[in-house]
């Protein structure tokens, strides 16, 4: 696909977005002048090192944070200009998979997935039961419906959270580090599920991750973020063969490069022998 395909039929548009935690000018900008487009029906990855603002971006899209500058537009509406009612109406059409799942620990797996259905719809219990079982079947955990979250392994918890995120068939699904801490089999399973669900629902998926191998297999487009700015973007193919130093270091897992190995410190010799 070309960048032309990207800009047509965009579900999410991010224009000149900046964000800092404190409002005074001296504080560090977590995000600085971000421009992104998320088209419908595609899986887009946002990659970068830890602490570069990827999770903040998801929170800005979901309306949990207000941008310092610029705007996030979802389905034609500007997120930070919405009142509570419209924001909640928008969130009902979004699903979010939190790192480590964030399942409600006082409810069973079944009740966790039924939660959004029971809160936002008036469907009768039999229908809710059928829908929950369908969602569980899609992630392969229909037999685990009566377990409690504390009885699940990491991979299973992640899958249940995924089923909960798509409980109301959202148009936008966001994944915060979905591959973190998983064994290779679970990695493959989660990756496949992300792709299949996106295609089945016709939704858009935003995957925030730093797992290169798992994501390159399933994503349509990648944005690379470093120090609050987008340093590169393109399809998986383009990124693998990219010459941009940061992208190269990231994809080939090199210890030193644009992201330095050494945390900023004094000159080595001076620190060891300087006092003598």
């Amino acid at each position: 696909m070309t960048s032309n395909d990207m800009h047509q039929d965009a579900l999410v548009r991010i224009a000149d977005l900046s964000f800092a935690y404190d409002s005074d000018a001296s504080s560090r900008k977590v995000l600085d002048g971000i421009n992104m487009t998320i088209p419908r029906g595609k899986v887009v990855a946002i990659m970068g090192g830890s602490g570069c603002g990827k999770t903040t971006l998801l929170r800005l899209i979901g309306g949990q944070l207000q941008p310092s500058h610029g705007a996030v537009t979802v389905d034609g509406q500007v997120v930070h200009e919405m009142d509570d009612t419209r924001l909640y109406a928008l969130r009902r059409r979004m699903g979010m998979l939190f790192q480590f799942g964030a399942l409600f620990t006082d409810m069973s797996v079944f009740d966790n997935i039924a939660f959004p259905m029971r809160e936002h719809t008036n469907l009768p219990e039999e229908l809710v039961r059928d829908l929950v079982l369908m969602k569980l079947h899609a992630v392969g955990l229909r037999g685990a419906a009566q377990l409690m979250p504390s009885e699940l392994s990491g991979g299973m918890a992640r899958r249940v959270a995924l089923a909960r995120a798509v409980a109301l068939d959202p148009m936008l699904i966001m994944y915060d580090e979905p591959f973190a801490g998983l064994d290779p089999i679970s990695l493959g399973v989660v990756g496949q599920l992300i792709r299949r669900l996106t295609d089945a629902l016709g939704a858009s998926s935003i995957v925030v991750t730093h797992d290169v191998l798992a994501s390159l297999k399933i994503v349509d487009y990648i944005y690379f973020v470093s120090e609050g700015r987008i340093v590169a973007e393109g399809t998986a193919e383009e990124m693998i063969h990219s010459d941009i130093p940061f992208v190269k270091q990231f994809i080939h897992a090199e210890a030193d490069g644009p992201v330095p190995f050494h945390y900023p410190a004094m000159d080595y010799r001076e620190e060891l022998f300087g006092s003598l």
Binding site: R91, M96, F98, F100, F104, T105
Partner: protein, 263 residues
């Protein structure tokens, strides 16, 4: 440290500022709870669940403590009263001490340590594991769904627990005074009935326990909601709940007693 006095005052000012900011935040939080309490009552089973966690689970502590406090009052009271030949006033002593002060205050302190800390830990843990965030992203207001039922559960449980404490205590005083020591049963109850006024003593005691219930529940949910989302954050929030609640109860008790019992 350079210019130590200046630093001291700066530190003091900073802490007072923080405290006032904290207080303001807590007041806005209280208003938010009140505004979003609709769900806690429309879906009353949520609140019932919390009444169970805070009230029913505290029953044993309250009943046993009340019994022992009443028994001690019986022993100590008799020891002092019989020196002035007024041992028939034992019932009055036990009843008034419990209904006016010890019932609401001690039940409040026990409630803060048992139920209040549990509420703080629960909410804090939900915050630390991003469950509150997940709820928000699913367009369910966590204040309405998680915080308000716990707040109202505590407010409803407290006066009932205080009444049970006082009742148990009077029974304990009766056990020790009448059955064990041998104070006249008739004068025990009749003097008590003559001296304990419904409006002055009992209603005031209930009002006190109601106020304490609001304060402790508010502190518990606030500390949990405002805690740092780490293990240390949740643990320090839990201890803060117990300490702050205890101090606030004793302070409020002084204010209420001065207002109500000026004679």
């Amino acid at each position: 440290m350079t210019a130590s006095p200046a630093n001291f005052f700066r530190g003091l000012g900073h802490r007072v500022n923080n405290g006032i900011w904290h207080l303001g935040f807590a007041s806005r939080f209280f208003l938010a709870i009140l505004m979003h309490s609709g769900m806690a009552f429309r879906r009353f089973h949520l609140t019932i669940r919390e009444i169970y966690s805070t009230g029913v689970m505290s029953l044993i502590v309250i009943l046993v403590s009340g019994l022992f406090v009443g028994m001690v009052l019986g022993l100590q009271g008799y020891d002092t009263l019989q020196r002035y030949g007024s041992s028939e006033a034992l019932g009055v002593l036990v009843a008034l001490s419990l209904v006016r002060e010890l019932g609401p205050v001690i039940a409040g302190l026990l409630f803060a340590s048992r139920a209040g800390s549990a509420i703080t830990a629960e909410i804090g843990l939900m915050k630390a594991t991003e469950q509150l965030s997940a709820m928000e992203m699913m367009a369910v207001n966590p204040i309405a769904r998680v915080v308000a039922p716990r707040f109202w559960g505590g407010v409803i449980s407290m006066p009932l627990l205080a009444a049970l404490f006082s009742a148990m205590g009077i029974f304990g005083g009766y056990l020790v005074g009448v059955l064990l020591i041998g104070v006249d049963e008739g004068s025990f109850w009749s003097q008590m009935q003559a001296s304990v006024d419904f409006r002055e003593d009992i209603v005031n005691g209930v009002i006190k326990s109601f106020v304490f219930g609001i304060l402790v529940s508010l502190i518990a949910v606030f500390e949990g909601y405002d805690s740092e989302p780490t293990a240390e954050g949740v643990s320090s929030a839990t201890t803060r709940t117990v300490v702050t609640s205890s101090l606030v109860i004793l302070f409020a008790d002084f204010i209420l007693t001065a207002l109500m019992f000026r004679g």
